[in-house]
């Protein structure tokens, strides 16, 4: 079972519908304790980084504990940004710190927010990119973005390059909205579900084997 974290940042209906379309079993945990036996975690979210403040210390601890235990995690949009150390959008709110780096405002050379379909360029192979060719378009809507670091497997450029898809061990993120990116988006969600299924097939305790 995959936990879809609802911390009040936007509407989860679209994510739920997309996951239903690929027949992924998901539920929304009512409290951190409900994360105990999950096989995968999705942190969605739209809007202001400050909204992540709703993920309180207990939720943070539970999320980090599950990830340390080898449970795959996918952050979508604001959820990707939350994987990093923090964001200039809400300097007082820490991110999960699973990926080094800081989220910053896109340079205003072009219109910000960055809204619409943009192409994603592959930087290195990733389990998230199975069946997704470099140059594929996804739907973005954001003003802040994460830096292109060693964890960035695919980048997009809007005024400047930023991280479109990240992967570090079993921690993944997509800055765009796969649930709104038609067939390519559903493919990325399927790829995450496959990673979750592979973790389920692996012997207990071995899920943390990924390169970290």
């Amino acid at each position: 079972m995959i936990a879809l974290i609802d911390y009040g940042a936007g509407n989860l209906t679209s994510v739920r519908k997309a996951l239903a379309a690929i027949e992924a079993p998901v539920f929304t945990p009512p409290d951190p304790a409900a994360l105990a036996n999950v096989e995968g975690i999705i942190v969605p979210g739209v809007g202001h980084f400050g909204a992540t403040a709703a993920i309180d210390a207990r939720w943070r601890a539970a999320l980090l504990d599950r990830v340390a235990g080898g449970v795959p995690l996918l952050g979508i949009c604001l959820g990707l940004q939350y994987l990093f150390d923090g964001s200039d959008e809400a300097p007082g709110e820490p991110g999960l710190g699973l990926l080094p780096g800081r989220v910053t405002l896109l340079p205003p050379t072009l219109k910000v927010p960055h809204v619409g379909w943009n192409t994603v360029q592959t930087r290195r192979p990733s389990r998230m990119l199975e069946g997704i060719a470099t140059g594929t378009s996804f739907y973005f809507t954001h003003s802040y973005a994460a830096p292109v670091t060693a964890d960035c497997v695919a980048e997009t450029t809007h005024s400047a390059p930023f991280a479109a898809i990240v992967e570090r061990g079993h921690v993944f993120g997509a800055q765009f909205h796969p649930e709104k990116s038609s067939d390519a988006g559903l493919q990325l969600l399927r790829n995450f579900v496959s990673v979750v299924a592979a973790g389920r097939a692996a012997p207990a305790g071995s899920a943390g084997r990924d390169r970290q």
């Binding site: 209906t13 519908k17 997309a18 379309a21 739209v46 205003p108 809204v115 379909w117 739907y139 038609s182």
Partner: protein, 253 residues
């Protein structure tokens, strides 16, 4: 590079797609979910469901239609018409819309934009501006183009963006349904005044009109209804026409 978006509008009345000329003389044009599926296959970038009679007849956006469309399509879906309150917006978003478009309600109470942006994020909030040329400016009209609001389109666009709107759906009342081309002057004036995306609407009749509004009109997206509804021009043909002329388009297989 960020693609310019081609958006199909489904003007819906009583669960059926209709399209009026200058907001009058509505004629049936099909079932929303059927049309939506066809457009999706042709590579449409986004859909707008507009409950065209809602404001006048006091009805809410059609949740059943939204649900039917959103359960099959995984591209952005906006809903407008009859969104008057936070509760109306919540109903549309809960049914599967990604964005709600506010027109008369935002003019009556601009703080509604801020309230919705705080709750759902600016990306979920579109301000729809219906503008008409009067003397030397663009006047904003409310209630399906029937009521002058006393506001100027450029000024209202700036204010709405400041208040939390994430996109502007800008319709030229003069051009709507005429197929004589978008009002590029209006579109450029608004697009230059704000940093949020502007969706041009009203007047699409030929492929060149889209080229004009993406270049001279500085539009980020263009919306049309009747040009697509009756299979006069396929979405795919339009996109390849624009792509061939250097307009960045999302290419689908």
């Amino acid at each position: 590079m960020l693609a310019k978006r081609i958006i199909a509008c489904l003007d819906v009345r009583h669960g059926c797609v209709v399209k009026g000329v200058r907001f009058e003389g509505l004629a049936d044009a099909g079932r929303p979910a059927v049309l939506a599926a066809r457009y999706n296959e042709e590579g449409i970038d986004e859909l707008v469901i507009l409950d065209v009679t809602a404001t006048l007849e006091g009805r809410q956006a059609l949740a059943a239609t939204i649900r039917e469309v959103a359960s099959r399509l995984f591209i952005p879906l906006a809903v407008g018409g009859g969104i008057r309150s936070e509760a109306d917006a919540a109903a549309a978003l809960d049914a599967g819309a990604d964005k709600v478009s506010l027109n008369s309600a935002a003019l009556a109470d601009p703080t509604l934009l801020t309230t919705l942006a705080a709750r759902y994020g600016s990306q979920a909030v579109i301000v729809a501006i219906d503008a008409k040329r009067t003397d030397r400016r663009f006047a904003v009209f409310a209630r399906s183009g029937t009521t002058p609001s006393g506001r100027d389109a450029v000024e209202w666009a700036r204010e709405a963006a400041d208040r939390g709107a994430g996109e502007i759906l800008l319709t030229s009342i003069d051009r709507d349904g005429t197929r004589s081309g978008f009002d590029c002057e209006l579109t450029a004036a608004v697009s230059s005044a704000v940093s949020i995306p502007v969706i041009a609407s009203g007047g699409a009749g030929r492929f060149e009109h889209f080229l004009d509004v993406f270049t001279a009109g500085r539009a980020d997206a263009a919306l049309a209804a009747s040009i697509f509804h009756f299979s006069e021009h396929a979405v795919a043909d339009l996109k390849s026409y624009l792509h061939d002329r250097g307009v960045p388009m999302r290419v689908t297989c």
